[in-house]
């Protein structure tokens, strides 16, 4: 009998470059982009945020607060017991405005709003104010591991009090300044590539994305449960294929999961032939017999893109279906019942993570 604690996702709210904010649809309508930058498809904010609050919020704060509100509604929770957010780069456009103002005005007569909006933990604070949540409030900013660290924190919190409801989420924007720096660092593709052709590409670099995803996580299931998170592990800069494969097989062994029990694995391949090599090696070795899906052609690459992958995994388990747009041709998908999903993500070939989901 498996005695390890499970962490239940009891609600989700997600805004991304796809129309993901309506849960009755699971990638039925796909948004194609011709440029290398994917930005969010946004719902009507006024349905979720009062006009008084809206007026001071930047685009990304509106997206984050709306995603969090959607998640609370989906989980039928009004006030969470704690709020944990993750962001690789925070709110860069607001930070840029604040810094520009500092320069232009010689560090005098600065307005407070840009400063408030530019801080990493602004979103967690906003959600707390909006929900009147006085509980635990934390923000992780550890770049490619930001969301994984937030999720890890939730798991630790719930191991102490399993009945709590924690709102955990991510937010990262496709900021212009980040794209400019990313191009110099060769993070993005030099050539223009339509997002739906990303995995046909045989070049380095990827496409820029953004999004915000929130999950209500509790130690107990509810009527609105999507799936359970069984375990999470981070692997930093594995040196070679053997080390990475061993890390994965050890992770599965600790969780008493056989390879044959994994119904589908969600690959965090980014379309960068250099950065994806460990994932390509996995699909030819350890996970050769396991159907694979990919998602970064739909949301682009960003520090917390794994949260989009978590939504994909949770949706597959809840809806028991896999949209064709996610499928990689081999091996064939002949699944009658989907009970176990493994997410294997990579960010810049540095930050690797495994997330094991159960129905």
């Amino acid at each position: 009998m498996d005695e390890r604690q499970h962490y239940y996702i009891n609600g989700i709210g997600i805004i991304s470059p796809q129309k993901t904010f309506e849960h009755d649809q699971f990638l039925q309508e796909i948004c194609a982009y011709e440029s290398n930058v994917l930005t969010c498809i946004i719902p009507s904010f006024k349905t979720y945020i009062s006009p008084g609050q809206l007026r001071r919020l930047s685009r990304m704060h509106r997206i984050g607060l709306t995603a969090a509100t959607m998640c609370l509604r989906d989980a039928n929770v009004q006030v969470p017991d704690g709020i944990i957010t993750a962001s690789g780069y925070g709110f860069l456009e607001e930070t840029e405005k604040f810094l520009t103002e500092m320069l232009e005005r010689n560090e005098k007569q600065l307005t407070p709003t840009y400063f408030i909006q530019g801080t990493y933990n602004a979103l967690a604070g906003l959600i707390a104010l909006s929900t009147k949540c006085l509980g635990y409030n934390n923000t992780y900013v550890s770049k490619g591991f930001a969301f994984e660290n937030a999720l890890h924190d939730v798991m630790l919190q719930l191991s102490e009090n399993s009945t709590s409801n924690f709102l955990v989420g991510s937010s990262d924007e496709a900021a212009k300044v980040l794209y400019a720096i990313g191009m110099r660092a060769q993070y993005y593709k030099v050539e223009n590539i339509p997002n739906l052709k990303l995995f046909d590409s045989q070049t380095t670099g990827t496409i820029q994305g953004e999004g915000s995803a929130f999950f209500m996580v509790s130690g107990a299931p509810s009527a609105t449960t999507w799936c359970a998170i069984k375990d999470l592990q981070m692997v930093y800069t594995p040196q070679h294929e053997g080390e990475f494969n061993l890390a994965l097989t050890s992770f599965l062994e600790v969780n008493k999961i056989k390879l044959s029990e994994i119904d589908v694995w969600v690959s965090g391949a980014s379309g960068n032939i250099e950065h994806d090599h460990l994932l390509h090696h996995l699909e030819k070795t350890v996970l050769q017999q396991t159907p694979q899906i990919r998602f970064k052609h739909l949301c682009g690459e960003y520090c917390t893109a794994v949260s989009f992958g978590l939504w994909i995994g949770a949706s597959i388990l809840k809806k028991q279906s896999i949209p064709d747009i996610l499928k990689v041709s081999t091996p064939e998908f002949s699944l009658e019942k989907i009970e176990t999903v493994l997410i294997v993500n990579q960010y810049l070939n540095r930050n690797y993570s495994f997330v094991l989901l159960k129905k």
Partner: protein, 90 residues
């Protein structure tokens, strides 16, 4: 030539709406005497900081005594009167 209180009132109204992003929440009954805080326009403490900066940037007036703020920022009219009187003394 010094602006009249009426001219300042009209100018402040435009500045407030732009600086505080009030386009969508201005009530129809909003006029120069509507209280800016509380049950009037419902501005908050961050807005009061924005107003302090607005006075400094646009009119060169530094509000040094925080206690003064309550009366100065009561309404657009009170702000206009304060600007008119303090700029006249400068």
């Amino acid at each position: 030539m010094q602006q009249s209180i009426e001219e300042l009132t009209a100018e402040l109204r435009e500045q407030l709406i732009e600086q505080l992003n009030l386009e969508d929440i201005i009530p129809e009954s909003f006029d120069e005497n509507t209280p800016l805080f509380g049950e009037g326009l419902g501005l908050d403490s961050i807005d009061s900081l924005e107003l302090v900066v607005l006075l400094d940037r646009n009119y060169g007036i530094k509000l040094k005594d925080p206690k003064e703020g309550r009366a100065v920022f009561y309404s657009i009219r009170s702000m206009a009167e304060y600007i008119h009187n303090n700029r006249a003394q400068a």
